[in-house]
């Protein structure tokens, strides 16, 4: 990460509470020009609240926000002029055509009419909607709306692009297109892109850096590799599949390696074994020595998916 330019988005100790519940709990974020930053978290983690505070649409209870060097609550218009925002449920005026919808956004941004027409044409081409541009949005499919949404956020030629769950509900082909568009915004055009998602793979494939966001807190931040090493706590997780129901993997591992490793039956013939990196080479011999029919041993260790599941889906029931 370079620190030669000033970050386009910067928050420190950003906090927002709704009554008793803390939606966002003192988070620090920095996003540079030219990078895609992913905010990864389950629904209700506070991602949208954070985004709204960046836009000045929600006032933080505590902490600082700087977008393009400005405070969104102090100079909302200047900030919103530079920030393109794609809401999680993007909507358009159904009776207007795609082009008319974009034109309205251009007018709201006070763009020069000729310049706006030119830009809109370019954007429609870029998101592949030239053919449908003069049809009412009411006839658009979900994927087309999402692409129109992306064009809409770019009408103002923003420095910062915020995309809230941009790939929900699009078909796999569309996701790939969308991802390359998003990456292009940052890498080719030097914008700062903030993307929120609850889908790990999309974040992993799109983002340069990411933060895992749970219950208003950022648990970890960095590149995918950073997170895997940091959250993997030096251990390796294996999934073991055995040939018969009553194979006692836990007893076999305990006999060979002592009480150190954690072994869980994840249902039927599947087990999950957490061992330290040093003990890892001993696992398979131990199983073989115990006479267990090993069908499969899979290394889950550095897979971010595993970390993600631990945090979001199993939560408190798994203690690592």
């Amino acid at each position: 990460m370079t620190t030669t330019t000033m970050p386009l988005v910067e928050t420190s100790d950003l906090t927002k509470t709704y009554g008793e519940t803390i939606a966002v709990d003192g988070i620090d974020l920095t996003i540079q020009a030219g990078e895609v930053f992913g905010l990864l978290g389950p629904n209700g983690a506070g991602k949208t609240t954070t985004v709204l505070m960046l836009l000045g649409l929600s006032e933080p209870d505590h902490g600082d926000v700087r977008v393009c060097g400005l405070e969104p609550t102090r100079s909302p218009l200047a900030v919103k002029r530079q920030v393109g925002y794609l809401p999680d449920t993007v909507g358009f005026y159904e009776h207007l055509t795609g082009r008319q919808n974009l034109r309205y956004t251009a007018q709201l941004n006070d763009l020069d009419d000729d310049e706006a027409e030119h830009r809109i044409e370019q954007l429609l081409e870029r998101v592949g909607l030239v053919g449908a541009a003069d049809r009412p949005v009411g006839e658009y499919s979900r994927g087309m709306r999402q692409r129109l949404g992306l064009a809409d956020t770019l009408v103002k030629d923003p420095l910062v692009v915020i995309l809230d769950e941009p790939m929900v509900g699009i078909d796999p082909e569309g996701v790939i297109e969308m991802q390359s568009l998003i990456v292009g915004l940052a890498h080719d055009e030097g914008r700062a892109v903030l993307l929120t998602s609850h889908l790990l793979h999309q974040v992993q494939q799109t983002c340069d850096r990411m933060a895992i966001f749970v219950d208003g807190n950022i648990i970890a931040e960095g590149t995918a590799e950073d997170l895997a090493t940091r959250l993997g706590d030096g251990g390796v997780t294996y999934e073991v599949a055995t040939g018969s129901e009553d194979d006692r993997v836990d007893l076999a591992v305990a006999a060979a390696l002592g009480d150190g490793p954690g072994v869980h039956n994840t249902g039927g013939r599947r087990w999950r074994v957490d061992v330290s990196s040093d003990d890892a080479p001993l696992l398979i011999p131990a199983l073989v020595r115990a006479g267990i029919d090993v069908l499969e041993v899979k290394n889950l260790g550095l897979d971010l998916d595993e970390i993600y599941h631990r945090y979001f889906h199993e939560g408190e029931e798994v203690t690592v």
């Binding site: 000033m6 649409l57 218009l77 200047a78 358009f92």
Partner: protein, 328 residues
């Protein structure tokens, strides 16, 4: 796109105010909408029917009324067979529908379409949205009221062959302003409903319900309330006067009553009081017409009341909207 050297930006100012952009878009949406066409036809037909009947009635009594002033304006105030309403009454009755039709889905429509988050993320102030919508609503209502009135006036001129005097035209213009403000009260109320209620259908039902209660049951409610506040003692005539005064005061809380009083005085030059008049007060009064400023003076409080009602209701809608969370 150019490379970004310094992200620090000067504060940004608009060339064209945000509310104007919103108002322009909303106005063109309204004018192109089916409800605009439907309401224009509905009001046009009813207006023409009422004036056609009024013209017939006026022609029948024409010989006796030769030389009577304000003949042209009577087109709007007189009712004739077979239409049971004068133009004035029917505008009073139907105009609220106009206000409700262009306001009930102002804000919740944006919400349910999912366009509100996108709209507030644009570089306009949040109040530009509600202000622009209200201005556009008033504009389109004004357009309909003016068009219908002009059609009706033109028809009257053709049918009766009477050309309005300058004073009559002035009265009609002032009345138009009052009528638009009256519709504005209902537009403001419908906008308030659209801010408050998440579903457009609920907002429309509530607004229409309130309109029906005010228009149909208002007088009964006021009568009952007046009887409770100042009951009539049959042996004491003063209590009857008190009762009537209370009733009048209470009824003036309704914008419908304010509109009716304003219209009556503005379109009838011979009306010299909109309050309670005893026979003694009329004794030896010389029958003569009021001038336009005098008529206006007579209903100035009513007119101001209408404006105040519109402003107060819109302000409530404004405040509620400004405090609302953007997220649904």
């Amino acid at each position: 796109m150019s490379a970004i050297e310094s992200p620090v930006l000067e504060t940004w100012t608009r060339r064209r105010p945000g509310w104007m952009v919103v108002a322009r878009k909303e106005f063109s949406d309204h004018v192109l909408s089916a409800r605009f066409v439907a309401l224009l036809i509905l009001l046009g037909l009813v207006g023409v029917a009422s004036v056609y009947a009024a013209a017939g009635a006026l022609r029948d009594v024409a010989p006796q009324t030769a030389g009577v002033s304000g003949m042209f304006l009577r087109l709007f105030t007189v009712q004739g067979d077979p239409v049971p309403f004068s133009f004035l009454t029917f505008v009073g009755f139907l105009a609220p529908i106009l206000g409700i039709a262009f306001g009930f889905d102002a804000v919740n429509g944006e919400r349910s379409q999912g366009t509100l988050p996108r709209l507030v993320a644009q570089p306009i102030h949040r109040d530009d949205i509600i202000n622009g919508k209200f201005v556009a609503g008033l504009g389109v209502i004004g357009l309909i009221v003016i068009v219908v009135t002009l059609i009706v006036a033109g028809l009257g001129i053709v049918m009766l062959g009477i050309v309005p005097t300058a004073a009559e035209v002035t009265r009609l213009l002032v009345w138009l302003v009052a009528a638009i403000i009256f519709v504005g009260v209902w537009l403001a109320f419908a906008t308030l409903c659209s801010v408050w209620m998440r579903r457009a259908s609920t907002a429309a039902l509530v607004a229409l319900g309130v309109w029906l209660i005010v228009a149909l049951f208002g007088t009964f409610v006021v009568q009952i309330a007046a009887d409770v506040v100042s009951p009539i003692d049959p042996g004491n005539p003063q209590t009857q006067i008190d009762n009537a005064k209370t009733e009048l005061a209470l009824s003036r809380l309704s914008p419908v009553v304010l509109y009716e009083e304003t219209s009556t005085a503005l379109l009838n030059p011979e009306v010299r009081s909109v309050g309670l008049v005893t026979l003694a007060q009329l004794d030896r009064a010389i029958v003569s017409d009021l001038t336009v400023p005098q008529s206006l003076l007579l209903v100035w409080p009513q007119l101001v009341g209408l404006i105040a009602a519109m402003v107060v209701i819109f302000s409530i809608a404004y405040v509620v909207f400004m405090r609302q969370e953007i997220r649904a």
